[in-house]
Subunit: 134 residues, 2 copies
């Protein structure tokens, strides 16, 4: 294989396959336990801000605004590493999550699980969501 | 909190927030090690086939066809669990991956990592990709 083993970060960010809205999905994974915490979207500026500040910043599609994770709730994500997939259309961000990643107060967003013909909630909030957004 | 703790699977699948193409992102995670292997897309029929066959089936956006993971390469994903996130717009699928999840022959697709001003490849193929697709 004649694969080039290193490229400039700015070139790699140019080559990411952003969607029509200029966004790319980013999976947030707790760096030490490998828990998948959440999935959100970033534009190029959010990626650059995350790398510069070492605090994870997404783009909120619902609010159409930068979403500096934890800015309102205090449940911040410290940046640990940024990985890019083979097709350059998905990011994996290793983070150190303070408290709850989910707006429901749960550690992660994937608290609904298929069990037979039902979908059940099998995780409880670790923080009262009422206290997160006041 | 007055959260309903159980819903019918068919209702839950109806309520998923598929995009304009009828697709929802699905993160594949190795069930025992928590490695994030890849991210791909599913439509409702791919989800139902995965649950019915216990083998993971995606929708290939490039080929515009069902993508029964491992059908050509032998690198199959046995289904272990399906989780749905808080906003019902992302799936987390726990799988047992045979061999390499990535078409490059690597265990996972996220083998490019940002290091300072560069992006480097820090994982080697575990299977020769030439042998995967003949």
């Amino acid at each position: 294989m004649c694969e080039k083993q290193s490229v400039k970060l700015s070139d790699a960010l140019d080559r990411l396959k952003y969607n029509a809205d200029g966004l790319i999905p980013a999976i947030a994974q707790q760096y030490d336990t490998n828990e998948v915490l959440m999935m959100a979207w970033m534009n190029r500026a959010a990626i650059e801000e995350t790398l510069a500040t070492q605090r994870v910043c997404y783009w909120s599609r619902s609010r159409q605004a930068y979403w500096r994770k934890g800015e309102s709730s205090g449940q911040i994500q410290l940046f640990k590493a940024l990985r890019i997939d083979c097709d350059a259309d998905t990011l994996l961000i290793k983070v150190d999550q303070t408290g709850a990643a989910c707006h429901t107060g749960r550690r992660d967003c994937f608290y609904q699980v298929v069990q037979g013909d039902d979908v059940i909630v099998d995780r409880k909030p670790i923080v009262d969501p009422e206290t997160l957004y006041r």
